[in-house]
């Protein structure tokens, strides 16, 4: 069985069916992609997989364990981490503090009244290493709100990685990025793939074709195509769709 599996997921909002019988499988150690036009149900799918929404039907299995309907906090504790399309940084905290509060050591040390995370040099080293990993070395003391857009995107990914995840979901990481930013992001993902299992949502086909081992194409709430980038290149629908022109 695959590392992360979604079986026959259904999700509706009122009378609108957003996900209709979606099944996905992501392998450990790889980069998986989910692609589709705007409004196809990609983000809803991500939100169901990571616990923000509960599906009406279907199951989500992580490393063989059924995690369907668990709260986001519980899903996160199992080693599933995600970034957001709309950035979710702690703006009044420095870049370093954003990472620190995401470290599992801080989460498990909540009851320690006399422990100061900012004064713990081992913890700071750990957080600095995460920042360096996403290219934010030297920006530790800058407030998240004061970082330029590209660096905020990088910090968003840094916070996602700080929780020492076993699988990382990235929601539209190229959102709002220029071509330079996208190039940096490609390098970053290439670097991260050696350490993490990654699942990336994108509507930018080029980006995903460069990086992903396997891609699922979602449209009208269904998986309409699935395969390696080269297999999808041969796919009639993908070739004729708007996706390739993005």
């Amino acid at each position: 069985m695959s590392f992360f599996v979604a079986e026959n997921l259904h999700k509706r909002f009122g009378s609108q069916v957003v996900l209709e019988d979606i099944s996905l499988a992501f392998e450990a150690g790889g980069v998986s992609g989910i692609m589709g036009p705007n409004g196809a149900g990609k983000s809803t799918c991500f939100n169901v997989l990571t616990g923000l929404y509960r599906p009406e039907r279907g199951r989500v299995l992580f490393d063989g364990e059924d995690i369907t309907g668990l709260a986001p906090s519980e899903i996160s504790r199992k080693g599933i981490s995600r970034s957001f399309q709309v950035m979710t940084l702690f703006d009044e905290f420095s870049a370093l503090d954003n990472i620190m509060v995401a470290l599992p050591a801080v989460r498990s040390g909540l009851g320690r009244a006399f422990w100061e995370m900012r004064a713990d040099s081992a913890l700071a080293d750990q957080a600095e290493a995460v920042l360096a990993q996403v290219g934010l070395g030297g920006r530790e003391r800058v407030l998240a709100s004061a970082l330029p857009y590209g660096e905020r995107r990088a910090l968003e990914i840094g916070v996602t990685l700080a929780s020492e995840p076993r699988i990382v979901f990235l929601d539209e990481p190229t959102q709002g990025m220029g071509s330079d930013g996208r190039t940096l992001l490609v390098d970053l993902v290439q670097k991260l793939r050696t350490t993490y299992t990654l699942v990336i949502i994108e509507h930018n086909m080029q980006f995903l074709f460069q990086l992903a081992d396997r891609i699922s194409v979602i449209h009208w709430g269904q998986v309409i195509a699935e395969g390696t980038p080269s297999e999808l290149n041969e796919n009639e629908w993908v070739r004729s769709s708007e996706l390739g022109k993005v």
């Binding site: 995600r82 979710t88 905290f93 989460r107 320690r112 100061e116 900012r118 700071a124 929780s163």
Partner: protein, 342 residues
């Protein structure tokens, strides 16, 4: 090394200044036209305000019914005194326990709410407690409240001190306030203190980092209720009575205004400043006009329009402008901001 600056001392400079003012107050109060009783009132409301700011300023949860827990503390103390003849310590412990229990119960309903739903629900809960306090005559004395709760002797083991004098009572309240300040300072500089701020800044992200946000909210609300209960018990001891008015929506709104005017969102000391400003306004404006609350309301509006971060925010900005080279305060939020500006 980045972390060298990170350590917040147990008793920072601002706290020392605060303690000096707090404990010397009776020596100079009369020379500036003040009196011991207002010192007691201010100290009690600071306890209430600091506890309230855990919710509003740090966790970003606006409670508009917090007077309920101040009132429950007052009734708890009063009933313990009248029915059990309990002294200072037992009375206060019962006040804290009663308010914490009520807050814990309310928090069960509130911990999964946020924003406007949280705010409206706190109003509803506050009104329920207020209504009960008026209608449950046999327990609360109805609209008259509980009367003749005489100030007790403070039993210190080897000796006892009468709290009939305002100076003696002031020092009891001041010592308890100092303990509250030390406790809250430590609490807010522990990891828990940082994590409750992440809930204010982005609750969804906090959940996805594995924090059980509802449990944290529940804990903070209950704690905040406990401080309100302590303040309520002391309030009852001071006023020698407990009455429904302090639980009203109007009274609950006052603590929100005080904390906002003082700058609870940007500083630990915001509630302290806000409470002092309120009581000074009451006495100074009140000596000039009966409609002082109208003028205080206008002052509140002016602060919200021109200085939304309150007096503490203004102070922060001015000191940075004039003394920009000063070393950053250990307070986390501002230390990073100051670093940016230098």
């Amino acid at each position: 090394m980045l972390t060298a600056k990170g350590k917040a001392s147990l008793v920072p400079r601002q706290m020392l200044v605060f303690f000096v003012i707090l404990f010397s107050f009776p020596f100079w109060s009369q020379s500036v036209g003040l009196y011991d009783y207002i010192g007691i009132e201010i100290a009690i409301w600071i306890i209430y305000g600091l506890g309230y700011n855990l919710l509003l300023g740090y966790t970003g949860l606006p409670s508009f019914g917090h007077g309920a827990f101040l009132g429950i503390g007052a009734y708890g103390y009063g009933l313990a005194h009248l029915n059990l003849g309990s002294g200072v310590w037992t009375g206060l412990i019962i006040a804290i326990a009663a308010a914490s229990a009520a807050a814990a119960l309310a928090a069960c309903l509130l911990s999964h709410r946020r924003g406007i739903y949280f705010a409206l629900l706190t109003i509803a809960i506050g009104q329920i407690f207020w209504f009960v306090s008026i209608k449950w005559h046999s327990l609360t004395g109805g609209e008259d409240g509980l009367l003749n709760i005489l100030r007790p002797e403070l039993n210190l083991g080897v000796t006892s001190i009468s709290l009939k004098s305002n100076v003696a009572l002031y020092y009891l309240v001041a010592i308890l306030l100092a303990v509250v300040v030390l406790l809250l300072w430590r609490f807010l500089h522990s990891p828990f203190g940082s994590v409750i701020q992440t809930i204010r800044m982005n609750e969804t992200r906090a959940r996805f980092l594995g924090y059980r946000v509802w449990l944290i909210k529940w804990t903070v609300f209950t704690l905040s209720g406990a401080f309100a209960g302590l303040a309520g018990g002391l309030f009852c001891m001071t006023q020698e009575s407990a009455y429904p008015d302090i639980m009203s929506l109007h009274a609950s709104g006052l603590i929100v205004m005080m904390v906002l005017v003082g700058g609870g969102f940007v500083s630990f000391w915001g509630p302290v400043i806000g409470v002092v400003v309120f009581f000074m306004a009451r006495d100074l404006l009140g000596s000039i006009t009966e409609t002082w609350l109208l003028w205080y309301g206008l002052l509140f509006m002016a602060v919200m329009v021109f200085e939304p971060e309150g007096v503490a925010g203004m102070w922060d900005r001015l000191t940075r402008r004039f003394f920009g080279q000063f070393p950053p305060a250990p307070d986390t939020k501002r230390s990073t901001q100051e670093e940016l500006s230098t």
